[in-house]
């Protein structure tokens, strides 16, 4: 009788020897692929921003000089760069995520719309970041 494990072993005879489908490196970069990978990169990078914000929140439960210490760091050059970078990443990931949800619903696949949405995400992320920084009196 043909068992499940036999099936798996037979299917695996060519493991490692099968030809691979073309990879990223042979394609010309496109708006949809680049803006999509930036969405993933911003999502992963936001982990760092959240770790810092949670550290800041925990410091706020303690207060005093400990809170002042992280507050000084987050508003300094390195911390400020990470915070503003995280704000941009969050804006990008928000807009990029909305675009992916539009694609998931089955809309916006024609090249013209896909390109336009890509530009809208990129430009919109900078506009949103600048807007928040402007409202906060940072710029």
């Amino acid at each position: 009788m043909f068992s499940q494990s036999m099936g798996r072993d037979m299917a695996d005879v060519n493991r490692g020897k099968r030809p691979l489908s073309p990879h990223l490196t042979i394609y010309r970069p496109q708006m949809s692929s680049i803006s999509s990978i930036i969405n993933r990169i911003t999502g992963v990078a936001l982990t760092l921003g959240f770790v810092l914000v949670i550290w800041w929140l925990l410091a706020a439960t303690v207060g005093g000089s400990y809170f002042e210490c992280i507050n000084t760091f987050l508003t300094g050059w390195i911390g400020g760069f990470i915070m503003i970078g995280s704000l941009w990443a969050l804006c990008y990931h928000l807009l990029g995520g909305i675009r992916h949800l539009i694609w998931d619903m089955g809309y916006g696949f024609d090249l013209k719309t896909a390109d336009r949405m890509g530009w809208a995400v990129i430009i919109g992320s900078f506009v949103l970041t600048a807007g928040v920084l402007f409202c906060g009196g940072v710029i």
Partner: protein, 126 residues
Amino acid sequence: MSFKTDKGRVIGLGSAKEGAHHWFGERLKAVALIPLTIAFICIMAPLIGADHATVVSSLQSPLNAIALILFFVVTFKHLEEGLQVVIEDYVHSKGSVLVLIVLNKLFCWAFGLAAIFAIAKIAFAG
């Protein structure tokens, strides 16, 4: 001799392991995060760099505290699922994938709960 049906023998053997349920849950969290992220930015942006009394009084507002807690709950579940997809896509050794997925879950639970604890403590106790 097996009494299992053809479907029973193959179910779960595909590379995805499971179907639409997981996919739909990911999208549901993403949709919920649209308003929650806007709320998060509106509440948090004025607080980074503010003095301690301002931070405490803002987080003691029930609306702010609830919006932030909701944001962190959904965000860390979304982060966990997102990082897991990244791990599954780019790490090819089965053992490493398992270890990284477990570490990812521990990390997301720890930091998500830390965020909620901090907000709740400030909201209740200042």
